[in-house]
């Protein structure tokens, strides 16, 4: 009864093999201590893996259009949350405020606390 887009199943084992390969890449990459390599190996690969799983295992590519949009909207809200919260929680000082004891130095009598722009 559904719009059975599921008539064709790709070769899942092949996709699985690719995923495992990517996993190895990320682990090996993390061995190197060059920061950027580690980050790409870690998160770039994670994104690719997530994409592969979503596309091939969850068939999100042949699902109704609005479904991926819904999921992306949820991620967007999280991004908004991050953007709104990070300036306070992530930073240790901002306009006319600073955290201590993390930044004891910022406590000088007189004058606004150090700005970090």
């Amino acid at each position: 009864m559904t719009t059975e887009a599921h008539v064709h199943h790709p070769n899942y084992v092949k996709i699985w093999a690719v995923l495992v390969l990517l996993l190895i890449v990320s682990v090996v990459g993390s061995m190197s201590h060059i920061r950027n390599v580690v980050l790409i190996a870690a998160f770039g690969v994670a994104l690719v893996k997530a994409y592969l799983v979503a596309k091939n295992f969850m068939h999100i590519n042949i699902e109704k259009r609005w479904v991926p949009y819904l999921l992306i909207m949820c991620l967007l809200f999280i991004a908004i949350l991050f953007a709104g919260v990070a300036p306070d929680v992530m930073k240790h000082s901002g306009e006319n405020w600073s955290k201590f004891p993390a930044k004891q130095g910022a406590v000088t009598s007189g004058g606004p606390a150090t700005k970090n722009e």
Partner: protein, 563 residues
């Protein structure tokens, strides 16, 4: 258990306690909500008495000590929002109306629906149990800012705080389950022929409210877990000395807390739309525009949260952004209200009780809306933040939402729910007896707020400027008005229960309304529709020219109309 989903009448116990019938679950939510409302009203009575007549023995409660006062205001806020507004507006009306209005026999997942109520009931019991534990219920305000809420040594109610948190978390789970069910039912289970723009506004708005809740509650659920660990496992998520940050909770809370305002507002708006259309005998002015504004409000409600935190220590540069978004959200809301008013134009308005309530909602909510501008614009919020101006402002929104609109809904659908009419005279007495005192309660509080009365303070004795007699008179006035308002609620309760037996029988469609729920007998039988309807047109076809009757039900085929 599965037997009652088949349309056979189940046994009494199953019928009233373990039913999966959406109408019964709606009733369970409605009566639980009403019971909690009485409780919340009693709390308000107790602490308003303390403010109106300081340090005197409150009849039926006793002396209100500082600790008790904090617990009372905290519980009043939590109960009224989480255990009254949401269960009644979303769960009760949603459960009762959605299957009937979209023309199917039940919710898509009746057992998930039942589970949702059972979890909700549990959450209510957990909250109430906090009154029995050592130290008493939580007293750290419904916003529960850490470290106060996180450290027992600070709030002196370690057990109460944890129970409060658990109760809120459970309540969220209940409404996630319920909301997902509403959404799925409306998306998938509509009657054949009911297109997107044939769905009644109240259904639209309850579903959108559920979706907003779903998207905003997540981070706070995560936050609740963190706070729970801070309370019980001595972690430091919100403890600055261990790398945490108290502001984090405030952000997570208000990222949910502000959309929450619209979660309860939208169903109220929907109810009012239905009532206004029926009693003005008018099509809603610009149905689609109302819908678009609703979507706009829904989205914008996610980008305004920090206007609750202007002076809470957030980076002042952020305040500007949130101040602008806050005034942005006033744009679609204004449009929506204007459209509702415009709906009256060219109608023939019957001022029955439901219509009085609906019009009362619009009139009062506008006051709540405009006073929000004072608080949304960062400059003035510096002074007004956490004063009684805020209290008056959001009561001018929440009372219209959770009291006035709910009464509009109950008086409007009572015949459908119970098959009998309410008493019109008592209804009108109750209306005026509620709305007039309501204004007398909160207009003085606007003034005390502008005079600098701060919130959540059991006595102003310590504050020379606040303990001026003039201000005390205002507080006393508002307390007395509250007593009057509470007294008139018993008129409603009497009317409600008396009419259950003695009201005149209603018949299927007493208000001559066009939506689907009025095509079935009142109260609707198990399974709702004898044969499931097909929909041919939008929900608000009133006053069509060249017809014998002045309304055209959604399920009447065009050839039967003969055009």
């Amino acid at each position: 258990m599965s037997t009652e989903v088949q349309h056979a009448e189940p046994g009494i116990f199953h019928k009233y306690f373990f039913s999966t019938d959406h109408k019964m679950i709606a009733m369970q939510y409605l009566f639980t909500g009403m019971a909690m409302a009485l409780l919340g009203g009693f709390f308000a009575y107790a602490f308003r008495m303390q403010l109106g007549f300081p340090n005197q023995h409150v009849p039926g409660y006793g002396i209100v000590t500082p600790g008790k006062y904090n617990a009372l205001v905290t519980m009043h806020g939590s109960v009224m929002i989480f255990w009254v507004a949401m269960p009644v507006l979303i769960a009760a009306f949603g459960n009762f109306l959605i299957p009937l209005m979209v023309g199917c026999d039940d919710m898509a997942f009746p057992r998930i629906n039942r589970l949702s109520y059972q979890i909700f009931l549990l959450s209510a019991l957990v909250l109430l149990s906090s009154f029995l534990v050592k130290g008493g219920p939580f007293g750290g305000a419904w916003t529960a800012y850490p470290p106060l809420s996180a450290v027992g040594a600070y709030n002196l109610t370690p057990i109460g705080a944890t129970l409060w948190l658990l109760a809120v978390a459970l309540e969220f789970v209940a409404f996630l389950l319920g909301g997902i069910n509403f959404t799925v039912t409306t998306m998938n289970s509509r009657a054949p022929g009911m297109k997107m723009y044939d769905i009644p506004l109240v259904v639209w708005m309850i579903v959108l409210a559920s979706i907003i809740f779903m998207c905003s509650a997540g981070p706070l659920i995560a936050g609740a877990v963190m706070l729970l660990f801070d309370q019980t496992m001595s972690t430091g998520f919100f403890d600055p000395t261990r790398g945490g940050d108290p502001l984090l909770w405030q952000h997570l809370f208000w990222f949910f807390g502000h959309p929450e305002v619209y979660v309860v507002l939208l169903p109220a708006m929907g109810i009012v739309a239905e009532v206004v259309a029926v009693f003005a005998r008018k099509k809603i002015f610009g149905y689609k525009t109302v819908l678009y504004t609703t979507w706009a409000v829904g989205f914008l409600s996610f980008v305004v949260w920090a206007h609750h935190q202007f002076v809470a220590g957030i980076d002042p540069r952020m305040a500007n952004i949130f101040s602008i978004t806050t005034l942005l959200i006033s744009v679609p809301i204004t449009e929506m209200i204007f459209l509702y008013i415009a709906t009256l134009y060219g109608g023939s308005i019957h001022l029955d009780t439901p219509m009085l309530w609906a019009l009362g909602f619009i009139a009062e909510f506008m006051i709540g809306g405009v006073t929000g501008i004072f608080l949304g614009s960062s400059g003035t919020d510096i002074y007004l933040h956490d004063t009684y101006f805020v209290i008056a402002h959001f009561h001018y929104t929440f009372v219209p939402i959770a009291i006035i609109a709910v009464y509009a809904g109950i008086t409007f659908w009572y015949p459908k729910m119970f098959g009998r009419m309410l008493n019109e005279t008592l209804g009108k007495i109750h209306f005026w007896g509620t709305v007039i005192p309501f204004n007398v309660i909160f207009i003085p509080l606007f003034i005390t707020g502008t005079a600098g009365d701060q919130r959540r303070v059991y006595s102003y004795a310590q504050f020379a400027e606040q303990s001026r007699p003039a201000l005390q008179h205002l507080r006393t006035t508002s307390t007395i008005a509250l007593l009057v308002m509470l007294a008139f609620q018993f008129v409603f309760l009497f009317n409600f229960f008396w009419s259950l037996r003695n009201g005149p029988s209603a018949g299927p469609n007493p208000w001559r309304s066009a939506t689907l729920e009025w095509t079935v007998p009142s109260p609707p039988p198990h399974g709702n529709f004898a044969e499931l309807p097909t929909v041919y047109r939008g929900p608000y076809e009133y006053g069509l020219p060249g017809l014998a009757d002045d309304f055209l039900p959604q399920s009447v085929p065009d050839q039967a109309v003969g055009d």
